[in-house]
């Protein structure tokens, strides 16, 4: 039988082949070649694109370069969302490689958070982990950890070190033996068609009778319009890390095995391709 731990590795090492192209209106001293990169699904754009920045800055004048930002088909990409989420939400049913446009001017202040240094990414990442633990354990586990443990989570992510990360993260995935799961499940549901960026609510993994709640139960409770069958067919796909888990999957299991490093389940609701 496949070990559940293999799922953890598959999630961690997921990659998306991406082609970065400089926006045509950026002013260059010579032609800018596209830059190809395998992006880690579990990381953040501004954390893994130093080489992309260097590549394009080589053909630009210093004064033409300010804060880098990324866009896909006219939509500014939120660097504070994990890369895998951005891809699933915006481009999962399109041909690879994922084509992202790189900008160095006209930062969209109304759409994107600034990211002037890695400290900003670390602060955001740690804030998500803390919020997830507030939901799972009333913050008890994260608070019991030392500062160096918190640092290890961040360094594990930054340096793509699975073992280093999970040495600490496994504690965030435990629960008291008398319980059968976390207090509440950290999750966010995203749908590109809505104005609201995501849905997040309190949801218990165990029903009052002791049964395990499923992914389907979560969706029915929090986002019923997404999964109501129309004419007997599912209009939408429910996607996590590029796959559609069965709706019968216990949400506790999904939380333990398919959360992102920030300890949240980031779930995309996307239109099912019609072909």
């Amino acid at each position: 039988m496949t070990d559940d731990k293999d799922v953890l590795r598959d999630v961690w090492f997921g990659r998306i082949p991406t082609c970065f192209t400089l926006y045509q209106d950026e002013i260059t001293e010579r032609e800018a070649e596209p830059y190809y990169l395998l992006l880690p699904r579990i990381s953040y754009l501004t954390l893994v694109t130093d080489k992309v920045k260097k590549h394009f800055q080589k053909v630009m004048r210093q004064e033409e370069v300010s804060e880098i930002w990324f866009e896909y088909e006219g939509t500014p990409l939120k660097w504070h969302y994990p890369i895998g989420l951005l891809f699933d939400l915006h481009a999962s049913n399109t041909a690879l490689p994922w084509s992202i446009t790189v900008h160095f001017k006209n930062f969209p202040e109304k759409d994107l958070l600034h990211c002037h240094s890695k400290d900003v990414i670390e602060a955001h990442f740690m804030a998500c982990i803390k919020e997830a633990d507030a939901l799972k354990h009333k913050s008890q586990v994260i608070n019991e950890m030392q500062k160096k443990d918190h640092k290890q989570l961040w360094m594990g992510l930054q340096n793509d070190k699975f073992e280093q990360f999970w040495a600490i993260n496994r504690k965030l995935m435990e629960y008291p033996p008398e319980d059968n799961g976390f207090r509440y499940i950290p999750f966010r549901i995203y749908q590109a068609t809505t104005e609201r960026p995501f849905i997040q609510k309190l949801f218990r993994p165990i029903a009052s009778g002791g049964q395990l709640h499923t992914l389907g139960d979560l969706l029915k409770d929090v986002c019923p319009s997404a999964v109501t069958p129309e004419d007997g067919e599912q209009k939408n796909q429910v996607m996590i890390h590029g796959i559609e888990p069965m709706l019968e999957t216990p949400i506790q299991w999904l939380s333990e095995h398919m959360s992102y490093p920030d300890n949240f389940l980031h779930i995309s609701i996307i239109p099912r391709p019609t072909d």
Partner: protein
């Protein structure tokens, strides 16, 4: 820096009570013309408090004023402007670039079960304030706390309902100081308007002050059986 541990002493706010406190708060705001309103999100039925006002950031503070601590000084630092400035007020004392439009939102965090203060600020020409400018405008009394842990205090985040960048005062430590202020059991303070208590404590950090009349707000209704 980590969040306080949950315990019996902690004063959590349930979402229903949050909405009720906000309703009472808006009613009083309307009575005194303080400009707060409630906005509902049609998708999920949740919502938030909202208020916009203009402030003048006076950079030319004479050195001796910094020594004073009475209310008059606060008036100088953050002149609260309801009407647009006319020319006679604008010349000689303030320049238009120093007028800042602040938009404050109070949202509920189900993860921490506390209210959270979101805000954004821009100059009259539309230029948004940077995080550094926001940190710089934090009231002098709170600068030490801010310097000790800026990333745990005010950061830029995505507004969970609007999806746009806002600055946020971290909810992490809210329970710590609310518990300290209330000092008693939840039962003893069940009639307190949590929003007024909380906002009057955190608001001044970012230039938001509540008129004293909010303190006179009628307590929430209760039956004699509850007492």
């Amino acid at each position: 820096v980590s969040c306080s541990m949950a315990g019996e002493e902690d004063f959590f706010l349930e979402e229903k009570r949050f909405k009720q406190c906000c309703e009472d708060f808006v009613k009083h705001s309307q009575q005194i013309g303080d400009g707060w309103e409630w906005r509902t999100n049609k998708d999920l039925g949740d919502g938030y408090l909202s208020k916009t006002h203009f402030q003048v950031r006076n950079r030319h503070i004479p050195p001796d004023l910094k020594e004073k601590t009475d209310d008059n000084t606060e008036q100088m630092l953050f002149a609260h402007i309801e009407e647009p400035l006319d020319d006679s007020e604008a010349t000689g004392v303030f320049s238009t670039e120093e007028v800042v439009r602040y938009e404050y939102h109070v949202l509920y965090s189900s993860s921490y079960q506390v209210p959270v203060l979101y805000f954004r600020a821009c100059f009259l020409d539309g230029r948004p304030l940077t995080l550094d400018e926001i940190w710089g405008s934090v009231h002098a009394s709170y600068q030490d706390r801010l310097q000790a842990g800026p990333w745990d205090t005010i950061t830029q985040q995505e507004h969970p309902i609007l999806g746009q960048p806002f600055f946020v005062l971290h909810p992490c430590r809210t329970n710590e100081f609310i518990s300290a202020v209330l000092g008693g059991s939840q039962e003893h303070h069940r009639h307190t308007n949590y929003i007024i208590l909380w906002l009057s404590t955190v608001g001044p950090v970012v230039g938001l002050n509540l008129p004293l009349s909010y303190a006179k707000l009628a307590p929430e209704q209760s039956t004699d059986a509850d007492l």
